[in-house]
């Protein structure tokens, strides 16, 4: 039997790789993929909790997370397209309209 902690460690590792990607990549699409990575990291821990606690509600939560991820991907990618159309770039460090 694999201990729960291993799964949680794995989940944390995936999540943190996502965080790292989000904080460091210039390409906005890769940043977006990093967000998906973070969501998957969370999903892993929820599924493993569901298994170890013998409670299906963890899986329900994952179900909802996937729903939201799909919605988020649709909206986010639409935003990226709109952005690219206006700026002709997908690099976030080239967009600084919000600079004070």
């Amino acid at each position: 039997m694999v201990p729960l902690n291993w799964y949680l460690m794995l989940s944390a590792a995936v999540f943190m790789i996502g965080v790292f990607g989000f904080l460091t990549r210039r390409n906005i699409i890769i940043m977006f993929m990093s967000v998906e990575l973070m969501l998957n990291g969370v999903n892993i821990s929820l599924i493993s909790f569901s298994h170890y606690l013998q409670d299906l509600r963890g899986q329900i939560l994952v179900f909802f997370i996937i729903t939201v991820a799909a919605a988020e991907a649709a909206i986010g990618l639409a935003i990226i397209i709109a952005l690219f159309r206006n700026k002709s770039t997908a690099h976030v460090d080239e967009m600084n309209e919000m600079k004070g």
């Binding site: 600084n96 600079k99 004070g100």
Partner: protein
Amino acid sequence: MNNYLLIPFLPLAAFLINILLGRNFLKEKAHWVSILAVAGSWVVAVMTLVDILAGHKINQDLYTWIVSGNFKVSVGFLIDELTAVMLIVVTTCSTLIHIYSVGYMHGDKGYYRFFAYLSLFTFCMLMLVMANNFLQLYFGWEGVGLCSYFLIGYYFDKKSASDAGKKAFIVNRFGDFGFGLGIIMIFLTFGTIYYEPVFAQAGGFANNTVNFLGYDVHLMTLIALLLFCGSIGKSAQMPLHVWLPDAMEGPTPVSALIHAATMVTAGVFLVARCSPIFSLSETALMVVALTGAITSLFAATIGLVQNDIKRIIAYSTISQLGYMFLACGVGAYTAGVFHLYTHAFFKALLFLCAGSVMHAMAGELNLQKMGGLKKYMPVTYLTMLLASLSIAGVPGFAGFFSKDEILWLAYSGPSPVGKFVWLIGTIVAFLTAFYSFRLIFLTFHGKFRGTHEQEHHLHESPKFMTIPLMLLCVGAIASGWVGIPHLLGGGAHFTEFMKPVLGHPEGHGTHAEEWMVMAISVIAGFSGIGLAYFMYLKRADIPVKIAQQFSGVHRLLFNKYYVDELYSFLIVRPAIWTAKNILIGITDAKIIEAIVNGVPKAIGIFSEQLRKFQTGRLQHYASIMALGILIIIALMLWR
């Protein structure tokens, strides 16, 4: 027996309807809402009076207004004999004056506004008299002051009118400040501001003193005098009387309702309502009596020489209010309230007649340009004559009974200043008769002294105006009949009716003395009328001669003892100087502007640094957010 609630709330509803819908929907029909509401109030008030006569009494809390610690105030109603009389006075005058206004204000551009304010005033006045605690009284008190301000400044595009409104409001502040302090003192002393417990406990504090500004002051005297401050302001007594004559800038129905019949009598009502407190302090009563007496004499002498028809009646009002305070000051609260009640009718009538005259004269106010109006406006003439007979104290009319009762109780009462104020009261009775008939003779008798155009224009007023005149005239004649003294074979029902609230005034004197006092006052009244007749009809050259002979006195009286000028010198100009030089020059320019300009400058410098955080880079924001999460988790773990 809850329908008494309709009395104040019908006018409130009328106000709301008129102010919200008047401009766009009701327009020329605005008066119907108000008249129906106030007439409804009147009907309920009469029903309530019948109930009170049957011996009922209402004291009910309707709604908890404020609860704070042991300070509790409700919107509550107390209807006893005193309130019932005030209700009748207020609703009757208000109804008739509402009707009169239909004719008088016809075609005015703020028609709906006028009726809205008039109804709001009625509501506030009714809240004032129906209150069962001091704070609600204060609410009504300020409410009527506010309406008074609105209505004095009704013609707000006229500078003198808006100035007069401000003057009334500001002068009243002086009095109301004292009144407010009085209510606070009552709360500090009794721990409640409801009438019933306060008056019930008042006797227990009769000998207490309180440290006030370093002196030990008799507690009840202090409270009574602070409350009386409010009365002085609202009822235009010396030295805060200056606002009332100027208040005549408002439309005449307003002068009749607010500045003659109801609002200005609120001060008398307050003293009567607080009679259990005032009775405990001889000093306070003496102050009340002397203030009343001096004011009445003072205002009456000014009234002798004025030429503005409304101002004469305004000074007459001040003088009669002084009379009421005189009565209260000698302990004859019932007589004071009785005079309040009769005065409301004949003084409202006088004002409405004056309004009718103004209507015919196209707004002319100067007596010297009138004359001979008798044949053009018979109804106005007759009703005004009867009202003047009433105020002059001609036997049989309402004013006679109330005035006689005041004078008799002043003469025979236990007050140390009783004899003195009686003397002044008698002199004032003479002066009142004189100036009232001077007004009648100059306006209605003799030859017309105005322009030809005005003469062509002369006409009797429309039915909407004359009918209220006639109805009020009935009141001016007959309202006194409920209080015919025992001496004349009457039952003195009014005094008996008021006894549970105001107590029974004691007069010690023989019947012979009572006859003598009555005779003297009647003689004073008749000689006043006679003198006016002689001076203004028989020998019209005499007044001019007298004015020349005593030009100094005449000028002093004509300029109202220069009180306005004195205030201007002592208060208004220093206040304006301070405002200009200190407030604008130093506070505003050096302090406020420095702060106002300095703060943005400081913010500018600060934000100049702060904006460097706003790099516009998505990842910087995300990093800072992640860092924040890191810190929060770390704090939660190793707290």
